[in-house]
Amino acid sequence: MNWLTNYVRPKIRALVEKNDVPDNLWHQCPSCEQMIFHRELEASLRVCGHCGHHMRLPAKERLELLFDDGEYQTVELPKLTADPLKFRDRKRYTDRLKESRASTGEEDAMIVAHGEMGGRNVVVAIMNFAFMGGSMGLALGKALLTAARLAVLQEAPLICFTSSGGARMQEGILSLMQMPRTIIAVDEVKEAHLPYITVLTDPTTGGVTASFAMLGDIAIAEPGAVIGFAGARVIEETIREKLPEGFQRAEYLLEHGMIDRVVHRRQLRDELIRISNLLLESRAAADVVPLISDSSKKNKKNPETPEASNDKESGSEERPAAE
């Protein structure tokens, strides 16, 4: 037995490792199937250098790319503490939650962050597809509401990155009720005449698309992202026809008038800065001759984010430089 352990096992391991090593260092593009070296992939923001395919990017990596010097603060969000339906399919909902929390290190499918982007304070609500398919439940509804109210307090644009399979079935009707709730959230930003910009990433479907995702003042999508209401399989089963080429892809939606722009990941940050600057120019001018008294404005600042009051002044000074 000894020779087997000492001789054969390492040999077997070497054989296995031969396959293992490239798996870690090399990634295959799911679109063109070319092999991409991992460093190249990181440098290219997980966009295939051969075919331009935009692979899914973890939420935290996106946040780093977005904010000035990759610096931002996340907002503490209310957590789901009860399982309101006591939902159980093949697994308990509480167990699925635990697993997702352990594997992602996140509490739920949305992270809310704020910081400077091009010298301007912005609030970012970003969905994490890795957390139960980016599904929308009570915690996510509350997270977006928190993000929206923070944006209003800080007089900052709200930028929302979507990626979701839709509503969280395990929360049943309560997940459906997040559609009106998230719509109210983004409407509060709109009522304050602040930009609500959506960046639709792969995939954005179901109840998320049919609520806050499709209501951006400006709707941007990443190339090739699947964006739709009904799933492709459901549509095929209903109409019993083959779906057209490129159906529900970002470019297809652009062609059908459903979004404003399809933007390459590398240009995204500049694009968001430019759009925010252009949209907020008249607001910045109004700030010079304040329509509201300064004292009332100061009272509106969020006590949790003292830097917000500084951002206002420094932000408006830096704006021309950023352009």
Binding site: P84, D89, I235
Partner: protein, 319 residues
């Protein structure tokens, strides 16, 4: 011709016997009339028993019952001077959603609802109650009309869901639903919604973000159909019954969860056994709900509607 559901078998047998008896004349001491009334008593007891402990899945079957009164039936009985209004002014008329002006118990209103149809021809015409973007855009237009002329809005929800099709996606099904919810939430007029049959997901909430939301006793309202849920979470639609249990989609569940305000009781053996009585009960439910919000001004109505969705389910979250 009555359609019996699987679990109504005992009732079907008794009704079959009654039908036989009706064609017979008295035999000696046995009086047919007495026998008939005895049988009717047994039918009523059987219905009471069956309907007292319907499972969620059985409730789904009742909510989808083909003989159940539909939107069109409620409109024709409850709305005088009904004046249907058509089209989204963008692309088409969508008969999956009916809507128009009319008078509800003396008062001018806008009424909107999904219609499933009741035979092959009308089911095709109304697309089984599955609206395309045009339907939701028509609903938006009618809600804005109500806002413009300060008229209360009544919506009747009965849909398996929004239509999943190529054209529907191309013309922005998701945007149409989102915008329709947004319009509901921005209204300064009273809005009452009643789930009369199937409240199917986004297609339902699109016209049901209201001040008062009512459900009929044997209607259902869910984020996904039990079949759809089963095929995703159990990987087989065969588990629809378990999914129906897990989803908590009955009127009682939704009242407990705070999603709806009241349940409209149905007659013995559900809505399809006494349509006139059912329709009257729904009318009474709507009238009462409208009365509750009558004194509120526009801003208060808008705030109340938004607050209900902002606070709903908050107790399951840490503060």
């Amino acid at each position: 011709m009555t359609t019996f559901l699987e679990f109504e078998k005992p009732v079907a047998e008794l009704e079959g016997k009654m039908e036989e008896l009706r064609h017979m004349s008295d035999i000696g001491d046995i009086k047919i009339a007495d026998e008939l009334s005895k049988l009717q008593g047994r039918i009523d007891r059987s219905l009471t028993q069956i309907y007292a402990k319907l499972s969620p899945w059985q409730t789904v079957m009742v909510a989808r019952h083909p003989d159940r009164p539909h939107c069109i039936d409620y409109i024709s009985s409850l709305i005088d001077e009904f004046t249907p209004l058509a089209g989204d002014r963008v692309f088409a008329e969508d008969a999956a959603i009916l809507g128009g002006l009319g008078r509800f118990r003396g008062r001018s209103v806008v009424v909107i609802g999904q219609e499933k149809g009741n035979d092959t021809e009308t089911r095709v015409k109304h697309n089984f109650g599955m609206a395309r973007p045009e339907g939701y855009r028509k609903a938006q237009r009618l809600m804005n009309l109500a806002e413009q002329f300060s008229l209360p809005i009544i919506t009747l929800v009965d849909t398996p869901g929004a239509y999943p099709g190529i054209g529907a996606e191309e013309r922005g099904q998701a945007e149409a639903i989102a915008r329709s919810i947004e319009v509901c939430l921005d209204l300064h007029v009273p809005m009452v919604s009643v789930v009369i049959g199937e409240g199917g997901s986004g297609g339902a909430i699109a016209i049901a973000a209201a001040n008062r939301v009512l459900m009929m006793q044997h209607s259902v309202y869910s984020v996904i159909s039990p079949e759809g849920c089963a095929s995703i979470l159990w990987r087989s639609a065969d588990h629809a019954e378990e999914a129906a249990d897990a989803l908590k989609l009955t009127a009682e569940d939704l009242l407990r969860l705070g999603v709806i305000d009241a349940i409209i009781p149905e007659p013995l053996g559900a809505a399809h056994r006494d349509r006139d009585d059912t329709i009257k009960r729904v009318g009474d439910g709507i009238e009462e709900a409208l009365k509750e919000i009558d004194g509120m001004d526009g801003a208060a109505l808008r705030t109340q509607r938004r607050e209900r969705f902002i606070t709903l389910g908050n107790d399951a979250l840490s503060s």
